[in-house]
């Protein structure tokens, strides 16, 4: 049986002017410039790009308008934008800047009605709900504010609520796998796919082609990758580090080392692995 087509999505976590990446959402390393990374993955035929402003919820605003605006001029694939989006106006502004889909997490958890308000205004397919899950004390727990605050709601109940309120897609992230390269949490995917009837894209843990082949046997609509792609890119690109152009913790980038658990992957290889091409 041929596998269902799955989107291969590159995710860029953005903090200030930089693409960053941590492990389990902590210990952020500066990796480069968002526009440059986005263009690189577009040229590799990524199916979609996610920009996530990972400090936006903390500061109460999304700073990605300029990044989206610049990127949308040169990149002709869908852009999903998330992080700190709280009002219909925020969504409107990002869509005007060139975003195609909006991903909501904290705002939806704090006020679930916001999901249907957004869906009514912008259409179901524009609204993705980002569900960030950690595995703690032997059970799955939902978090918000970029993995900082526990939501104290049941995973299945929350997924159902998002669907009932009209969300167009679920982005399921496993915080405990994030940035580890140790493979996807397929138990989590199993649990969610039992109840999900809208598109499901999954994230967290891809480190090798084997991981990707394995997860592609699941009934999912797309896989989201960040570390696995970024680290390959950095190793291949001598110019990614430019003194002076990046702020923050650059030691990691300078050292070019320590990509534990990660094979060298690019989008073409991943596309082959997920779709029996």
């Amino acid at each position: 049986m041929t596998k269902k087509f799955k989107r291969v999505i590159a995710r860029l976590d953005v903090k200030g002017p930089n693409v960053v990446k941590g492990v389990q959402m902590e210990g952020l390393r500066v990796l480069g410039q968002p526009e440059e990374f986005a263009e690189y993955y577009y040229n590799q035929n990524a199916d979609e790009i996610i920009f996530s402003d990972i400090v936006a919820s903390l500061y109460g605003r999304n700073n990605l308008i300029d990044v989206v605006s610049k990127t949308a001029k040169n990149i002709f694939i869908p852009l999903i934008v998330g992080g700190g989006i709280r009002t219909l106006k925020d969504i409107y502004d990002l869509l005007r800047a060139g975003a195609d889909k909006i991903s909501l997490n904290s705002a939806a958890i704090k006020n679930p009605k916001f999901i249907q308000e957004a869906v009514k205004e912008f259409g179901s397919s524009t609204i993705t709900i980002s569900v960030e899950v950690n595995f703690l004390n032997n059970k799955y727990e939902i978090f918000y504010n970029n993995g900082r605050e526990p939501a104290n709601i049941d995973l299945n109940e929350w997924i159902n609520e998002c669907q009932d309120r009209g969300a167009g897609e679920i982005l399921l992230s496993a915080i405990h796998k994030d940035g580890t390269g140790k493979g996807y949490d397929t138990n989590l995917i199993d649990q969610v796919k039992e109840i999900v009837y809208i598109p499901l894209i999954v994230q967290g843990g891809a480190g090798s082609i084997k991981d990707i082949e394995h997860v592609s046997n699941y009934e999912i609509d797309g896989i989201v990758l960040s570390s696995a792609l970024h680290y390959t890119k950095i190793l291949q690109d001598d110019n990614v580090y430019r003194e002076g152009s990046l702020e923050g913790n650059k030691e990691f980038l300078k050292s070019k080392k320590n990509f534990l658990n990660f094979e060298k992957l690019n989008i073409e290889m991943i596309k082959k692995a997920v779709s029996n091409l």
Partner: protein
């Protein structure tokens, strides 16, 4: 001189991406909802993301229904994208029955979960387009190979009354729906050519030729 194409700004949709794709394809654009701009343009693009009902309400409030219909009847090239394609049809069943522009005969329907074999709604992602009755040489699909994947995001599809206007169909869960149409000067795609990578840009390039020849 490159032709001037008006991207209709009626509050619905990803205008910026469409503008960028046009500029990439040597189409000079103006984003506006003013009648005089519409009248003086060489072509019109109807973008659209969102709900049919809201779109028709906005067009009605901006008093643009008649001017759009006039452009269509006066042979100006028009490109409808996604919701912009659906608006060209007579009516939609989204949020009850809503009347559309009625430039192409047929109606807009929600995917029937049974017909698409329990596949998910909305249909989001990359799907192939294949030929129906039309030859692609004379359409904006001229440079596209059959079965090329394009990017779709939609819960509704059009059911064209006259099969001959259908340029391509797409299979979703075993159900074939109309994924693009061409009727004289009217061109439209259910998918997003501005989001379908380099292949999508070829469609804008062909639309640019259509405008220049007009």
């Amino acid at each position: 001189m490159s032709p001037k194409c008006l991207i209709l700004d009626y509050g619905m949709g990803n205008i910026k991406s469409i503008k960028a794709a046009c500029e990439y394809s040597d189409i000079e654009t103006i984003v506006s909802n003013k009648k005089k701009d519409i009248n003086s343009s060489n072509a019109l693009i109807l973008p659209g993301v969102g709900s049919f009902k809201k779109a028709m309400e906005n067009l009605t409030n901006l008093d643009l229904l008649e001017v759009i219909k006039d452009q269509a009847l006066n042979n100006k090239p028009i490109l409808g994208i996604c919701l912009g394609m659906q608006l060209l049809f007579e009516e939609s069943e989204e949020f009850g029955k809503t009347i559309g522009l009625g430039l192409v005969k047929g109606r807009v329907k929600k995917f029937d979960i049974k017909k698409i074999n329990n596949n998910k709604i909305p249909h989001v992602g990359w799907s192939s387009i294949f030929k129906n009755k039309q030859k692609w040489e004379d359409t904006i699909l001229a440079k596209i190979e059959e079965n090329q994947k394009m990017y779709f995001v939609h819960s509704f599809y059009v059911e064209a009354q006259d099969e001959s206007v259908i340029s391509s169909k797409t299979n979703y869960g075993g159900f074939n729906f109309c994924s693009s149409v061409n009727k004289e000067n009217l061109f439209a795609t259910q998918f997003h050519p501005e989001k379908s990578g380099r292949e999508g840009l070829k469609i804008f390039n062909e639309f640019s030729k259509v405008i220049k020849q007009n």
